[in-house]
């Protein structure tokens, strides 16, 4: 099944002391994710006021603070989006809570915060899915312990909601145009399982259509997971070759302070 994640660009992969960042590209959707921290809880208070937070491990672990910045030039016709655009905030919450389910926060203790800054540089559909994948990839890269990748994918259904034809076949990973015309949903699962962590459907669709779409999306998630995993392994080998692995150890030890 065609999952257009073939064009990942890891040219900008960088590891330094406390910051890791990743440029992930899905179709023409281009997202950059930066993980900072973990650092003192109250740091999150004053700086990223607009970020959405979610405690991990039932409050016993570190807090995840997610803030999304959608560049004005990301869309075809430039639009400036206010910091507290409710739609963005909703996505932030969804991502924060979603990741909280995967991240082993107790490794850090309750008073610490991990900042996840997502920058959308170019946007062409499957935004939420892209953001989620980028975030979990960056988290892995940052050496934050997780039970499994949190992977997401969109699935749509041909023909509009009114027509109740069962023949309508689902399709995967929609771009902006498709999103505007077809009903679709975003599904985020924990790794390759069928466990739904997050699910967002914003379009009107026959109840009967739901199952098909979810199934397709779930498959997409599996594929995405394998891909992310591949990326991480490649980078691991790269680091070994460069002998950077030693540095990697420094990094992981730094996390735990």
């Amino acid at each position: 099944m065609p999952l257009d994640t073939s064009t990942y660009n890891l040219a900008l992969l960088r590891v330094d002391g406390r910051r890791w960042n990743e440029l992930r590209q899905q179709g023409n959707t281009k997202i950059q994710c930066i993980i900072t921290g973990p650092n003192e809880r109250d740091a999150s208070k004053n700086t990223s006021s607009s970020a959405s937070t979610a405690p991990t491990a039932g409050g016993a672990g570190a807090t995840l603070a997610v803030s999304i910045m959608i560049a004005p030039f990301a869309t075809v016709d430039r639009k400036r989006r206010g910091r507290n655009d409710k739609r963005v905030q909703e996505m932030q919450t969804t991502i924060a809570c979603g990741l909280a389910a995967a991240v082993q926060g107790q490794a850090y203790g309750p008073r610490s915060t991990i900042h996840i800054a997502l920058n959308v540089l170019s946007q062409d559909g499957s935004l939420l899915a892209g953001l989620i994948n980028a975030a979990s990839l960056a988290l892995v890269d940052a050496g934050v312990p997780m039970t499994d990748y949190l992977v997401a994918c969109t699935a749509g259904s041909t023909s509009s909601y009114a027509a109740a034809d069962e023949a309508a076949d689902p399709l995967l990973d929609l771009n902006t145009q498709e999103e505007q015309e077809l009903p679709f949903l975003t599904l985020a699962t924990l790794g390759a399982t069928d466990k739904v962590v997050a699910m967002v459907c914003e379009s009107r669709v026959q109840l009967t259509r739901l199952e098909g779409m979810m199934a397709t999306a779930a498959d997409g998630c599996k594929a995405a997971r394998d891909f992310l995993d591949g990326v991480v392994r490649d980078k691991g080998e790269l680091m070994v070759q460069e002998g950077a692995i030693g540095r990697g150890e420094v990094v992981s030890s730094m996390d735990l302070d």
Partner: protein
């Protein structure tokens, strides 16, 4: 400012050391990262990272600070207002006059020069005619500041945060200071390009982001291309869909080749008034410690700065007729730098908690033997008891105690400021260096 660059805590000893090492006169300042005073931090840059934009660039400093700039252009109708016509044409004429005048004879004002200047105004008009302004009206290419919209995004800062506002205004100022830039956006009398520059600091601000943002913007503008105009004169503009045919906002040229090459390019360019080989502005951050002038200071360095200024320069037309040009060694390119704007930056050092010598400890106040005040007591503080009570304290506050760093007080000396600006502008100086560097980046 303290909000823009995260506050870092240094021990009094560290501060004292930093300040000491940076203010060394011989062999010159020793910077924590071992750079030369006028040396920039190494940076990686690339352009054309965003297919969806007219121009885009990305620069990251070695310390990890990273910025992305995207430029988008839209065609917009020009409101017809008699005033704008008058004002802008004047503005432009004046500009073209001012150049040759200042270049020669140091503001010696002989009418003859005015003659020749008006002349060169005319022949520029001809260029415009070629450029497709066939209309009978002797209409000059003009521009209005609100054709450009610039936005700065700093992670963790609200849009209306004073720091962000300040950055925005400085970058905008540099861009608009000489009326030239906006004129490039002129299409015809009824239409113009509206240019949106969105500057985004991707990483958390590890150091004062101004230079980074400015350089990235510069690069993005260099890479910016506008669709080629197909329509004639004042009719509704038609554009060439072929992106390859699109023309650069700042016409490209290999720096050595002179007028001829770029003249041709220019005539094809929509914005005819653009002076040949002009380059977008860059804003550099310069700081002074003691008598030393230091470029592109890092966060630690800024923490002990005596004063800091942001200097914006741009490159104007470089004409062969320049007398000085011969004197320049062939190696250095002839760049004709304009000073666009200067602003003092509130050095964070003012907020850096100072080390306290015992003498100034509140407990120790008054116990010291008096010395003659070195600062003027303001009449107010004289009639107000508090300050007058302990003049001796004031002395020790102003006197430097060895090994103790104190937040700088007062301002910068006139000469020092002048020197800083001069250092930026000097031939073969940092500004040129940087410009060359950015020139080197290939525009994908």
């Amino acid at each position: 400012m303290s909000s823009t660059s995260q506050h870092l805590l240094l021990s009094p000893a560290e501060l004292a050391y930093l300040h000491g090492s940076l203010s060394l006169t011989t062999p010159g300042p020793i910077r924590p990262d071992g750079r030369a005073p006028a040396q920039f931090r190494p940076l990686t840059a690339e352009t054309g990272i965003l297919p969806g934009t007219n121009g885009s660039a990305r620069i990251c400093f070695a310390d990890g600070t990273e910025a992305v700039v995207g430029v988008k252009a839209e065609v917009e109708k020009t409101p017809v207002s008699p005033y704008e016509f008058v004002a802008s044409t004047e503005g432009r004429k004046d500009h073209s006059t001012s150049i040759p005048q200042k270049k020669k004879g140091r503001k010696s004002k002989k009418p003859t020069e005015d003659e020749e200047t008006t002349m060169d105004v005319d022949d520029e008009d001809d260029d415009e005619e070629e450029a497709g302004d066939g209309s009978a009206a002797v209409e000059k290419v003009r521009g209005s500041p609100d054709w450009v919209e610039l936005s700065v995004e700093i992670p963790g800062l609200r849009d209306d945060d004073s720091g962000t506002v300040f950055l925005t205004s400085m970058l905008t100022e540099a861009l608009l200071a000489d009326g030239e830039f906006v004129k490039k956006l002129w299409i015809n009398r009824r239409f113009h390009w509206k240019l949106y520059l969105d500057i985004i600091l991707i990483s958390p601000p590890l150091s004062y982001p101004l230079p980074l943002l400015s350089l990235t913007t510069h690069l993005a503008l260099l890479a910016t291309r506008l669709p080629r105009l197909k329509s004639e004169a004042d009719e509704d503009p038609m554009f060439d869909d072929d992106w390859a045919a699109a023309t650069f906002l700042y016409p490209r040229q290999d720096t050595s080749s002179g007028k001829a090459s770029n003249k041709s390019k220019q005539s094809s360019a929509a914005a005819a008034a653009a002076a040949p080989a002009s380059r977008p502005p860059i804003t550099l951050l310069v700081m002074a410690v003691g008598d030393n002038i230091i470029f592109d200071p890092s966060k630690e360095e800024l923490a002990v700065a005596d004063s800091a200024v942001a200097v914006s320069v741009a490159e104007g037309p470089s004409s062969e007729s320049e007398p000085e040009s011969d004197s320049i060694p062939a190696t250095t390119t002839k760049r004709n730098l304009h000073l666009l704007s200067v602003r003092t930056i509130d050095p964070p050092s003012r907020l850096t908690p100072p080390g306290v010598p015992n003498s100034v400890n509140a407990s120790a106040w008054g116990t010291m033997t008096a010395a003659t005040p070195t600062t003027t007591t303001t009449p107010a503080s004289a009639n107000e008891g508090g300050a007058a009570k302990h003049p001796d304290a004031r002395v020790t506050e102003t006197e430097d105690v060895v090994g103790v760093w104190k937040a700088p007080r007062g301002g910068a000396k006139f000469a020092m400021l002048g020197a800083m600006v001069a250092k930026v502008l000097e031939r073969g100086g940092v500004a040129e260096e940087v410009l060359d560097g950015l020139e080197g980046v290939d525009l994908g």
